[in-house]
């Protein structure tokens, strides 16, 4: 029997409550059969310092990206990765990570490209679990290699490429970077390494809604009502709109993609993972620089 949905009242308000679990629910269900917890962090060593008991690690850089081409791994490689982690196609995969779940949401989004059926996020991620004093261990999980089918990756539904974005201009775009990156003042996140964009600014018509506005102090998602006020109200996204979200390399926008798709129930949201590191470097891309566009 697959793990149940967390009945938490806050989650029940969301469009797809089955896509999120609370730390408390996870603590009670760690031993459920058919469930694998995946930690995905920005810091590649954080998992080794201690992780949720039984959790396996999936690294976005070294395991989800193709080592040569700027793309995600092939279907064969993804299947191999899943087998090595002991994840089957019918496994419930529950992601958590550092930085308010940026990378956990990113990993969840990549799993979604391969159509993995049951993927969920831990509301609040690693920081909330730790802050609540819940168990952490450095013991390596003992997982038996699984069988995972080679499933064709389907980029069409939730991933946008540069040409898709060019064709999309005039329709809703959400830029989730910091205000200074959006305005063109900075070419990268404050206090982050320069990830090489030659031009600053944003995609014409994009609304600025920094990803963090969807999160509380403790890293958990804002309530349904708050998210509605932010995206439907302030950003003016209509339920049937076709929306593209982007950031710098697609990780922060995965967080927003998750909020729009799974928490608010938007059905046509694509993440442009080329994001600013592609747009800000490609020749003749239209760029807007004033701070208050859109």
């Amino acid at each position: 029997m697959p793990p149940t949905t967390d009945p938490d009242p806050k989650l029940a308000e969301y469009a797809h409550p089955e896509k999120l679990v609370t730390t408390g629910w996870l603590a009670d269900h760690l031993d459920d059969p058919g469930l694998v917890v995946v930690e995905s962090d920005e810091d590649i060593l954080l998992y080794e310092t201690g992780h949720i008991p039984g959790a396996v690690k999936v690294d976005w850089h070294t395991e989800l990206n193709d080592p040569i081409t700027r793309d995600y791994v092939s279907s064969e490689r993804f299947a191999e990765l899943m087998r090595s982690k002991g994840i089957g196609r019918d496994t419930t995969v529950i992601f958590y990570g550092d930085k308010s779940n940026w990378w956990a949401a990113y990993a969840l989004w990549v799993f979604s490209l391969f159509g993995h059926p049951d993927v969920r996020l831990v509301d609040g991620g690693r920081a909330k679990w730790e802050a609540e004093g819940r168990p952490m261990t450095t013991d390596a999980p003992s997982r038996v290699a699984s069988d995972y089918p080679v499933v064709e990756r389907d980029d069409a539904g939730i991933r946008a490429f540069r040409d898709d974005v060019l064709a999309h201009l005039g329709q809703p775009l959400v830029d989730v970077r910091s205000p200074d990156e959006y305005s063109g003042k900075l070419l990268h996140m404050p206090n982050y390494p320069q990830e090489g964009a030659l031009r600053g600014g944003h995609i014409p018509g994009a609304k600025s809604v920094p990803w963090a506005r969807a999160a509380n102090e403790d890293g958990s998602f804002k309530s349904r009502a708050e998210l509605d006020a932010l995206y439907r109200g302030e950003a003016g996204l209509g339920q049937d709109d076709n929306v593209v979200v982007y950031c710098r390399i697609g990780e922060r926008s995965s967080h927003t993609w998750f909020a729009l798709t799974h928490l608010l129930g938007y059905e046509n949201v694509r993440n442009y993972d080329g994001s600013w590191t592609e747009w800000g470097n490609a020749v003749r891309m239209p760029i807007e620089r004033e701070a208050d566009a859109g």
Binding site: D43, L45, L46, T49, Y192
Partner: protein, 151 residues
């Protein structure tokens, strides 16, 4: 200094990483993260004396002091940033106590020589290179300041 321009302790670390199977290299980096000593009191009480290294993905602060002809390296990064701490730990273990010239002679491709790119990803290594660059600049500035101060 060894033939490849590295002070012996750093050369040994480079050799250890190169000899280790990829799976073990992360574990080694974690050990360096854990072995980074806490800041001494005169710096712990005055964080403004440390220079931020914004190129690192997580907050990292570093300062160098030259005393009796050798350089001391002091660095601090939060426990939840073990990779960043690990890089600082490597430089501390490999360079602390070396003469200024030896530190300035460390080639800037040192991070590539650490055989970490395939397990850590090149992007994460940029911060380590920036850390070295900032330490070297500090040492150069301190030497210049000493040279211009009458004794």
């Amino acid at each position: 200094m060894t033939a490849d321009g590295l002070p012996p302790p750093l050369a040994e670390i480079v050799a250890d990483f190169a000899a280790a199977p990829p799976r073990d290299r992360l574990e080694m980096l974690l050990e360096f993260a854990q072995s980074l000593p806490p800041l001494p009191a005169h710096l712990a009480d005055h964080p403004e004396r440390l220079e931020p290294v914004p190129e690192c993905q997580s907050p990292l602060f570093v300062t160098t002091e030259i005393e009796d002809g050798v350089v001391h390296i002091y660095a601090d990064a939060p426990a939840e940033a073990p990779t960043t701490r690990g890089f600082a730990g490597i430089f501390h273990a490999g360079l602390d106590g070396q003469p200024p010239e030896a530190i300035l002679a460390v080639p800037d491709d040192i991070t590539a020589r650490l055989a970490l790119a395939e397990v850590v990803s090149p992007l994460r290594l940029r911060g380590a290179a920036a850390l070295l660059g900032r330490m070297q600049r500090q040492v150069r500035d301190r030497l210049a300041a000493e040279a211009s101060t009458p004794t």
